[in-house]
Amino acid sequence: MPDPMRIRATIQDSQATVRVLMSHEMETGQRKDSAGNVVPAHFIQSVVASHNGRQVFRAEWGPAVSKNPYLQFQFGGAKAGDKVQITWVDNKGETRTDEVVLR
């Protein structure tokens, strides 16, 4: 099971700022190991964020995104106590979902 994300979310005047750190190798599929074998591609392909169940952010990622990626985004209409849920899915079908309560 993949490691949990680190999510920090703050609100100011109903605008939420969400910062997410994801633990992922993000292998491009273009590197070779010391034995000369290609290291298989392994990277996050989609990231979805929802606010109280409604999708507010969606990203399609590829192998150009760095290892252990950091994502920051903002959205309006937020208030304290609301829930923000983030889900990523990688090219091997592995997935991880974490949630944070706005404060």
Binding site: D3, R6, L21, S23, E25, A64, S66, K67, Y70, Q72
Partner: protein, 273 residues
């Protein structure tokens, strides 16, 4: 592609940190401000936090043959106390009658409290991709609890003073194919290797700035690296053989460097190129 981006990002960040030799004072002040802003943004998303989180989990989970957590581990401030502990390490521990740094002490606790064999605890001291290091994660967790704490490495016990004296001798020890010592690169002010600024580790200000920024997430490696790794990789470039994890030389040298940084404010895990 991503490497190029990270290099650019890391160079910008490292420049603001004064780690690279690009002469910041020669730049217009708004450039410095922008670099500073960029550095802050980068530090804001420092993946070291992922190691800190995993380390906290490892610290609090019952593990090993004895199914014990590390919450009874005394790293210098009493059993289970992590807050501020790293700022006073290495130090003398009466129960083992010797000076230990954080990494050695963690291994000691994993063996004595959790019942791991020494070989198990040091099998993967430096993480490599999916082969992760528990020690690096634990170090991230413990050191983060000293952020903002003033460095105060004790020099009371004779063995602490002996470690410092030995560490100083090792710092100036020339050997290997290239006759390098630590001091070859880190013994004079205002030097750089290629474009990278070299801290003069015999100078209090430089030593404080350098020591308090380790451990660090190395963007170029995608790994969190500890002081033990820093010394290991310095000696590799010094053309010495491989420094053994937790060895007497590594602890003595750390005691010398940490003590030279006394009075500085600890600010790690940091992020570096």
């Amino acid at each position: 592609m991503r490497r190029t981006f990270w290099w650019a990002a890391a160079i910008a960040a490292a420049t603001a940190l004064g780690l690279l030799g690009i002469r910041v004072q020669a730049q217009p002040s708004d450039t410095i401000k922008e670099i500073e802003r960029y550095r802050e943004a980068l530090a804001d998303g420092n993946p070291a936090e992922l190691w800190e989180a995993r380390g906290e989990e490892l610290w609090k989970t019952r593990r090993g043959p004895r199914q014990a957590s590390l919450e009874a581990c005394d790293i210098g401030k009493g059993p289970g106390v992590v807050a501020g502990a790293y700022a006073s390490l290495p130090r003398y521990f009466a129960d083992v009658d010797r000076v230990m740094d954080l990494e050695t002490r963690l291994v000691h606790c994993m063996v004595t409290l959790q019942g791991f064999s020494p070989a198990e605890t040091t099998r993967q001291v430096y993480g490599a991709g999916t082969k992760r290091s528990d020690v690096e994660a634990l170090v991230a967790y413990v050191t983060a609890a000293s952020r903002g704490v003033i460095m105060d490495v004790p020099m009371h016990h004779p063995k602490e003073r002996a470690a410092y004296a030995l560490g100083e001798r090792i710092f100036f020890f020339r050997g290997g194919s290239h006759d390098f010592s630590c001091a070859s690169c880190h013994g004079d002010p205002g030097k750089r290797i290629r474009l990278q600024d070299l801290p003069n580790l015999t100078d209090r200000n430089d030593a404080q700035r350098a020591y308090t920024s380790w451990p660090a997430y190395r963007v170029s490696q995608g790994e969190l690296r500890t002081m033990q790794w820093r010394l290991y990789d310095c000696f590799r470039q010094q053309r010495f053989p491989a420094l053994e994890f937790g060895s007497e030389a590594s602890i003595a040298l750390t005691a010398f460097l940490a003590s030279n940084a006394n009075g500085g404010t600890f600010n790690a895990p940091a992020i570096k190129r």
